[in-house]
Structure formats: structure tokens, C-alpha cells
Symmetry: C2
Subunit: 276 residues, 2 copies
């Protein structure tokens, strides 16, 4: 563990003798409006799996369901290998916090698939959009107040930045943005999981209206392996996110994360609650 | 329950006194190459949740992880409400079968989110492609042998049908197809879950090469409510699926299902194992 804020937020301690049972503490640095930034929660789920002594392979799929608000303070996270095959492994993960009566309450359910990859025929049919390099795109300077996690990322929006005025003029929901940790930190699976959730709610952009909204469930597929992550190092990723169907309180958004050299590292989808 | 083959495949029996614990039997009618059609498995997960006496609302998100092959015969399925909020509910679901020693082995892990929807601003930013109506598109006649489930659907491929020759000439992975149950059956959430998985592996089309492939994890978001499903009735859905990143043994595919009148009923993503 380094002293990077992200590593501090990812700190988990083995709890008792049972493998895969950890305790942790929410990070004030990655606080969102009313709870931890959901990306950090997804990363913690993955960290618990990656910290299990029986881990097989590397992450392929991660689904995190935000069942209930996580309160500031201690939490427990348990990663269980539900099935281990020759080259794939299926995990269930839960995060709990004790209520006032000291009873553990589930606030996060999750599943993870890990696998040993083999070299095969490969092709990327979702190429990176042609955009100016990160150095030619100004960083987003006007952070919304009360959202600590925003400051933990360097974001250089090519298009679709958070609106400055909420005038209802919106006609699309696409954001394209260069991003990386601030200060820069070598990319790993945990930080990639977190970055998959860093696109603000598409409904804000689509409507140019700030309505209450929050991710209900996110699924991220990891296409990168450790060698590709190492190749990225502390470089920027290009992220692209768009909303698809907005309907009666929920919408889905699809996201892509490429390395600066155009490799598609992860694809991610989420379903988001919104009001009004 | 009607005597439609799909309803027979969905038959679950309450097991003991614990709510949400059911027994079922795999369906020969929906058999795939080496196990049940994964769509049916996803539907069974959803059925278990919908059959729980504490159910709140209707399906919003469904993630099913195919942890291990399901053998022909009996299985047990347990749906647990991990967290119930005012208007959303989070479920964990597992399917098990007994091994030769009579020990329950997990073959499927899953999570489901259900919710009470409210009327809000709504818009569909993923419009249906312009295609000829179902009656003007010929049904796919040449079913691959040994795949019973294929015969349970009427499929009218507009483009991207399963190749008849495997000559390696493929240059895209998009299928657009009209589909419904055969014989027609009124659409419900369970059958919509199943139809979200009915696109054959994109790698076959992309490479025009038939390599071993199987879904590892599928996530479906339900945009339709009961009224929209009733409006579809026994009508056709238009499905569209494309692969995105194929890399070292895994690829992801994105799918959309519209009603004939152009309403986007569900979006679905899956990550698929492939060989070579």
C-alpha cells in the first residue's frame, strides 16, 4: 500500500480466521453527496476478491448492487468463492454495516467472475473516438461543491462536461473525457473498476436539469489483463458514456474506457434511479 | 400455468416452509448443446424472485452468472431478499444441484433488483432500427441440430443470421431479428429475460467460424412495466445484438429488445467465453 488517497480508501483488514472476511472504513476523500462514491464501493468489492487466498485468475466481470446507503464509518465485507472451476471462479460478495442494535445490515450485494486468460484471436470492434490528446484538453475546473471524490480525479472533458447552467436545453447524454487519478497512480483492476463509475448521471446532461439520481446496479467487464494495465501506468484513459432508455424512474447508461493508445480496457453498464 | 412449453420449463415448486426456496427440473425442450439454454436459467432466477411472498415491485435489473454446467434433472433455487427499502428491493439468488455425494453444489449465482416505478419524464435515446415488418421477413428455417431450444422460438432474421458456411469471411457481429415464442405466448418478465439471451455467440458471426463459446455472465435491465408487456401480448420483439471487444478468451455483447411499436423493453449485456 502506498499513501495515495485511493490506496488508503482501499485499505482492508483481515477479520478473524475466515478467509475473505475483511473490515474497512469509508473514505472521506471519496465522499459523494450522501455516501461513498459508488466507484470506490465497486473497487472495495473487487479488492476483497483479489485479497482472498484462494483467488484464481484476474477479474472478468463485476456486478455491484447498491442496496442501501453506506454510512460513514466501519463496514465489513465478505467475499465467498461460490464455485471454482479449472479456469474460472465465481464469487459472491456482500458489504454490511451494523445498525443501532448491532445487527449486520446488507448495504451492497455483488458478484464477481475471475478467470485465467489464454491467448486467442482478438479484435476490438468498439474503437476509440478520435479526440485531441489529453494535453490539448483543459481540465474541468469548476467542481460541484460537497463532492469530495471529484477532486481525486483529473478529468479533461472533450465533450459533455457537467453543465454550468441548468436551463433544460439538453438534447443528448454523451460525455467523452480524459481521466486519471489525481495525483497520478498506476492503473490496476481496483482503480479501473472505480473509473467505470465516474460518469455523472446521464439524466443531468440529457435534461440539463439536476434531479436526484443514484446508481442502483453497475456491471463492468474487464477486457484488460495485468500487462495492459502496466502499459497504461499513470497515463490517461479515455472514457465515453451515454444514456439509452430513460423511463419512469430509471435509466441505463453504457460506458467505455480506452487506454491512450486505443485499447478498450473495460466496458460498463449501469442502471440509475432518478426522480421526477 | 398454461401448457406452453415455456410455462412447463418455468414450473417451480415451493420446497419446505422457507419462503423463496423452490425445486424445479431442467427442460428437455430448452436444451442447448451441453446444458439448459442460459435464457431459461435467467428466467428461472427471475421466477423464483417473482414467486417470493415478500416481493416488492417489478424487475429492474437481473445479473446471472453461469458458474458451472447444469445437469439434466432436479435443481434447487433459493431467492433471498437481502435488503428491502421503501421502493426498491435487492435479491440474491443461487441455483444448486446435488453432486454424487448428495452435497449441494452452486451452478448459478445471481442478483436481482426489483422496484416500484413512478411516472417520470421519459425518453428513448436508443431508437429501433428501421426494418421491414415481421410478416415481410422469412423465418430462419435451417436450425442447427442438437439445439432443442431454438425450436421454441420463431426467429425472423433481418440481418446477421447464423452463417450457413463457416468460411472465415466475417467482418461484423451484428444480428437484427424479429422474435417471439413458438407457439406465440403473451410476453412477461420471465420470457423477456430469456429472450435477452437468445442471440447466438457473436464470435461465430464475427469470424464466420464456429468455436466453442458460452455465456459466463449476463445482465439485463428491464425498462418495460407490466402495462407495456401486456401491450406487446403475443406480438414480435425486434432484437439487435453486437459484439464489442473480443480478447483472449472472452468477449462482450450488447443487446436491445424493442416492441414492434418501437418501445425499448430491455437492454442486456453479457460476457462470453470462447476458445482459440
Amino acid at each position: 500500500m502506498t499513501d495515495h488517497t485511493f490506496d488508503k480508501a482501499m485499505a482492508l483488514e483481515q477479520s478473524g480466521a475466515e478467509p475473505g472476511r475483511f473490515t474497512g472504513k469509508t473514505s472521506a476523500d471519496y465522499w459523494n453527496f450522501v455516501g461513498p462514491f459508488g466507484g470506490t464501493t465497486a473497487s472495495l468489492v473487487l479488492q476483497a476478491v483479489l485479497g482472498h487466498p484462494e483467488l484464481l485468475g484476474a477479474p472478468i466481470a463485476l456486478t455491484v448492487n447498491y442496496a442501501s446507503a453506506i454510512e460513514a464509518g466501519d463496514f465489513e465485507i465478505v467475499a465467498t468463492p461460490a464455485r471454482t472451476n479449472r479456469s474460472t471462479q465465481h464469487w459472491t460478495v456482500q458489504i454490511t454495516q451494523n445498525d443501532a442494535q448491532g445487527k449486520a445490515q446488507v448495504n451492497t450485494t455483488a458478484t464477481v467472475v475471475t478467470a485465467v486468460r489464454r491467448d486467442t484471436w482478438s479484435i476490438n470492434d468498439a474503437p476509440m473516438p478520435e479526440v485531441p490528446p489529453p494535453a490539448d484538453v483543459a481540465p474541468y475546473g469548476d467542481m460541484p461543491s460537497g463532492v469530495a471524490w471529484f477532486a481525486q480525479y483529473e478529468m479533461r472533458p472533450v465533450s459533455g462536461a457537467i453543465p454550468h447552467t441548468w436551463d433544460g436545453s439538453g438534447d443528448h447524454s454523451e460525455t467523452v473525457v480524459w481521466l486519471r487519478d489525481a495525483p497520478p497512480r498506476p492503473l490496476d483492476f481496483a482503480s479501473l473498476a472505480s473509473m467505470s463509475d465516474m460518469f455523472y448521471p446521464r439524466v443531468w446532461l440529457r435534461r440539463t436539469k439536476r434531479v436526484p439520481a443514484g446508481t442502483v446496479s453497475i456491471t463492468t467487464y474487464f477486457h484488460a489483463d495485468a500487462a495492459q494495465l502496466a502499459e497504461v501506468g499513470t497515463g490517461h484513459l479515455l472514457g465515453r458514456a451515454t444514456g439509452q432508455q430513460f423511463r419512469n424512474g430509471f435509466f441505463d447508461q453504457a460506458a467505455y474506457l480506452w487506454s491512450e493508445s486505443g485499447k478498450l480496457l473495460a466496458t460498463s453498464n449501469q442502471i440509475v434511479y432518478f426522480k421526477e
